[in-house]
Amino acid sequence: MNKLETTGFEAEAPLISVRDLHVTFSTPKGPVHAVRGVSFDLGRERLGIVGESGSGKSQTGRALLRLTAGNGRIDASRMMFDGMDLMKANAKTMRSIRGSRISMIMQDPKYSLNPVLTVGGQIAESCRRHEHVSRAEAKKRALSMLETVRIREPEKVYSLYPHQVSGGMGQRIMIAMMLITNPQVMIADEPTSALDVTVQMQVLSLLDDMVRERGMGLVLISHDLNLVSSFCDRVLVMYGGRIMETLDAKHLDKAQHPYTKGLLNCLPKLDGRHDDLPVLKRDPAWLHEDGLSGGASR
């Protein structure tokens, strides 16, 4: 097993511990192996998972909640959450975990909010679904949650429909909905990709506060290596369903694996020069077991 780097955050037992996770989809053209042997621990920290499309980063996130599509199969030698074995949990236990103890933010608020319900109603519903509280109490909590995610005039926004709010506000509402149950772990799958850069920063700062104030564990899944490394404590770089490298986010420049280096180099930089960008060359060996540890020697 490849050794995982430890940071100060892991002094206590990890919130989530995954070993040798595989996700396979059966398709008419044969099995598709989306995630191939991923292992990591999540403490009360900000963990980034970075990769290009098809690298298995989202499927890793979904597998933690066992939200893999019907034709998919999850295998892992270990998938523990707070002392519970997620692999053995039955559907009922999973339902009690999803949303209330581990919650997930999706990419685009336009598609993940119900268009025919008011946003406030949806937040309150999330609250009532997981806890036995009265309607009035749920509304009160939803309003205070809207305030927490820095929405001005929460009373007014409460009764708006999703099409009446902007993308940034929609994503804040999604975050409010996910946080109202006070989860221990939040999985954010490209939470800011559909947003403008300045709004992106504001949404990230919100997630940042939540991790700090509530001691939450955050998994941030993204394709943007620079953004993730400036935000997270640790970064897993994925390619072809495998973890290529685990990096301390502050030392991105010390990346060893040629894939990580290639990804970093092919980003355009604001340096006023217009030379050709180095193009990423993929090594088929990265997809095999021996390509995993050999990052430094290649």
């Binding site: 504001q202 940042d208 394709h223 620079n226 400036s230 290639g262 355009p268 930089k269 604001l270």
Partner: protein, 258 residues
């Protein structure tokens, strides 16, 4: 090559009237690559769409190579200015082969030697003749965007308008497309106007950048300013800071520009 003066476009009427572009002025020299950045709703794409003739109700003057453009264009005048769109998954007809897609502009403009031209352009965008009879679903995102670039280039235009040409692509593919675009500009002496929300992408391809906010061009940035971030307008500075990555302290100074 391109001169835009007092360009204005409004949508809707009465109470719901929105001025998408207000009094935009810019000039682009022949062979230059000019960038427009801004957040969503800033009107950056609207400028391009007015130039290429998708919108015809604009006010002001647009001159291409000294000739003012009319709201209604002749077929021949459209040949000199072509556009590449954001999403290569949406901009190619799913039931037409690459050959059909590339031949259509040639048929419209009545150009001869269609086969030769198609084969030549495919090689130029790095695809090769074997892609000629493929359908879009048989191509990757980067290959589709290459077809879209070939479609714009096949009429041998002098101006190419690029509307977020790489934002639907992975970073490694984005690098390939940006390299292709800058190589094509050099070999053909093309003039580019590129629109993007990503300051780094525009900064890589363009030597001057106009920054748009709420329909107005607030500032024009030079190469030097892109490097140092030493810009005049507050909005530009905020955009520049945000594109440098997540920074808790800088965020406190962010505000809304109305």
């Amino acid at each position: 090559m391109i001169e835009i003066e007092h360009l204005g476009i409004t949508f809707g009427s009465g109470k719901s009237q929105i001025a998408a572009v207000k009094n935009a002025n810019l000039t682009v020299a022949e062979g230059e690559s000019y960038g427009i950045v801004g957040e969503s709703g800033s009107g950056k794409s609207t400028v391009l769409r007015a130039m290429v003739g998708i919108y015809s109700h604009w006010t002001g003057t647009i001159r291409i190579a000294g000739k003012p453009l009319q709201g209604k264009r002749s077929v021949a005048s459209r040949k000199h200015m072509q556009m590449v769109f954001q999403d290569p998954y949406g901009s190619l007809h799913p039931r037409r082969t690459v050959d059909d897609t590339l031949s259509e502009p040639l048929i419209i403009h009545g150009l001869k030697n269609r086969e030769d031209r198609v084969l030549k352009i495919l090689t130029e965008v790095g695809l090769g003749p074997e892609f000629r009879f493929r359908y879009p679903h048989q191509l990757s995102g980067g290959q589709r965007q290459r077809v879209a670039i070939a479609r714009a280039l096949i009429l041998e235009p002098r101006v190419i308008l690029l509307d977020e040409p790489t934002s639907a692509l992975d970073v490694s593919v984005q690098a390939e497309i940006l390299n292709l675009l800058s190589a094509l500009r050099k070999t053909h002496g093309l003039t580019y106007i590129m629109v993007s929300h990503d300051l780094a992408v525009v900064g890589h391809l363009c030597s001057r950048i106009a920054v748009m906010n709420r329909g107005e061009i607030v500032e024009e940035m030079s190469e030097e300013q892109m490097r140092t971030g030493n810009v005049k307008h507050e909005y530009t500075r905020q955009l520049w800071t945000a594109s440098q990555g997540y920074d808790r302290e800088a965020l406190a100074t962010f505000k809304e520009f109305v």
